[in-house]
């Protein structure tokens, strides 16, 4: 069993990642490995670089240096860090389901249309197949009745659950969550976390940037604490939250409660 897993390439591997905005260095050489089935939580204060780190994985931010590998395939980069092979990047992006803080559902499309957009127009899945799959996913996130609704007419929690379903619709190898509950009213956070927890429980590979410490402790298999663009401390959640070594992390955990 162990050997079967270890023979598989890591789902996501980030090595020595640097990112600067102008003269401001946001990431100063951070690395991360997510094996298949891992749930890696990235925590840290605002401005620590955690969202930037996540967004570099699918090149929504162009890294300034370092390497990104997805399912054993290294993303080809030019010397300045920009993607060298657009087709390759698009193919790799199609295997990563991203969920954003602000949902970013396409407002001119109904929920169902949002879910089938990429499967039908990019992955060339037959439409009826894509629709059937989308309905199953909507049912799973509790939005079966909302398939014809436009996003603007749904609550934040419903929109985020639809966005998660949209990310799942491309059958991704890994999921990237960028503070998925930060834009939600407190009473709507639970319904979204529940969906994410369900995905973690079924063994999906996920990288999760979050402010929800209790949730990170609950679902993560590995936690990274980022401070000023460097990994200050990392390890299994019970270590990081139960017995933090770094003074900064102790302080951080105290402030976020």
């Amino acid at each position: 069993m162990t050997s079967a897993i270890s023979s598989q390439p890591d789902a996501i591997r980030v090595t020595g990642l640097h990112k600067s905005f102008g003269s401001h260095e946001v990431l100063k050489g951070v690395s991360l490995t997510a094996k298949v089935g891992d749930v890696v939580a990235i925590i840290g204060g605002s401005g620590s670089g955690k969202s930037t780190m996540l967004r570099c994985i699918n090149f929504l931010e162009t890294p300034s240096g370092g390497q990104i590998e997805v399912a054993g395939e290294q993303v080809k980069m030019k010397p300045d860090g920009s993607p060298a092979d657009r087709k390759q990047l698009e193919r790799i992006r199609q295997s990563l389901g991203m969920v954003f803080q602000n949902f970013n559902l396409w407002t001119h499309k109904t929920v169902l249309e949002n879910l089938i957009e990429v499967p039908v127009h990019v992955l060339k899945v037959p439409k009826d197949e894509a629709v059937a799959r989308a309905r199953k996913l909507l049912d799973r996130v509790g939005l079966a009745a909302k398939e014809d609704a436009y996003p603007a007419f749904m609550s934040g929690g419903q929109q985020q659950r639809a966005a998660i379903a949209r990310a799942l619709a491309i059958d991704p190898k890994a999921m990237l969550f960028d503070e998925p509950t930060s834009a939600l009213d407190p009473e709507l956070v639970g319904e979204v976390l529940q969906v994410i927890k369900g995905l973690a429980d079924e063994g999906r590979t996920m990288i999760l940037v979050t402010h929800e410490m209790r949730f990170a402790r609950d679902v993560a298999s590995h936690v990274i604490y980022l401070h000023n663009g460097v990994i200050e401390e990392e390890g299994p959640p019970e270590m990081l939250f139960g017995a933090p070594k770094s003074e900064r992390l102790k302080q951080f955990l105290k402030t976020v409660g």
Binding site: L60, F100, T107, K109, V122
Partner: protein, 245 residues
């Protein structure tokens, strides 16, 4: 059948169709105006889309070219552009042709009209469309990129439909401008509505009959257009909440 003298005809007879009235001249002019406006607007839209994407996503050379284009065209009065293209450019071309021992050319009026007005429309549409693209929420574009859509697909499936809602009011204005800019082509003698009106009233001296008639025709174009653009905007805004609440 000989027509009675103009002074004995009523306004209705003057505006009537057939041999004695000028109605068909006016309607022909109206048709020409609409055709020119449609052609110029459509061609201008093509230029506008290319210009807007070029200004936003193009390389440095493309951006500079687009900037020079929109600046110059919007700086020079359309009438001057029409005169330059219709008289100055062919004059220059003909001098070259004569020097080469070839025959001189005369630009077809209709085509010239369409091209000049499209050239002007394109510059204004570039700016309207650029603004509309900039108003598309960036997150929705990111979501499309993050799922592996190609830039062309992102433009066609996401940016284009989303910017339409933002662009319709501005594009509606430009369409109304286009319909009225056709009147400028009267200076090169093209028989659009204004030229036809001028002919009719100059011949009959019935200025107070023909100019109000022309105004009414322009008004009808505007009203139909406003209704049409309203429908388009309603369609383009599907999925958006009514801001009036």
């Amino acid at each position: 059948m000989a027509c009675p003298p103009v002074s004995q005809l009523s306004s209705f007879e003057l505006l009537g169709l057939g041999e004695c009235g000028w109605g068909d001249t006016l309607l022909l002019g109206l048709g020409n105006s609409i055709l020119i406006a449609l052609g110029a607007y459509a061609l201008g839209f093509g230029i506008g889309v290319a210009g807007a994407f070029g200004k936003l996503y193009g390389g440095p050379v493309t951006k500079d070219l687009a900037a020079v284009y929109t600046t110059l065209v919007r700086a020079v009065p359309e009438l001057v552009l029409i005169l330059i293209l219709y008289y100055a450019v062919p004059g220059l071309v003909n001098e070259v042709l004569v020097a080469m021992g070839r025959e001189t050319i005369v630009l077809p009026q209709f085509l010239t009209g369409v091209v000049v007005l499209a050239f002007v429309q394109g510059a204004y549409q570039t700016e309207v469309l650029r603004g509309a693209i900039l108003a598309v929420p960036h997150g929705q574009i990111e979501a499309a990129r993050a799922m592996g859509m190609s830039p062309f697909l992102v433009a066609r499936r996401i940016i284009f439909p989303l910017m339409t809602a933002n662009a319709v009011p501005g594009l509606g204005n430009l369409w109304l401008n286009a319909t009225k800019d056709t009147a400028l082509l009267a200076v090169i003698g093209f028989a659009e509505l204004t030229k036809a009106t001028y002919q009719a009233s100059a011949t009959t001296k019935a200025f107070f009959t023909f100019y109000p008639a022309a105004m009414a025709l322009y008004l009808v174009i505007s009203l139909v257009s406003i209704y049409g653009f309203g429908r388009i905007e309603k369609w383009a805004r599907r999925g958006q909440r009514d801001v009036r609440g």
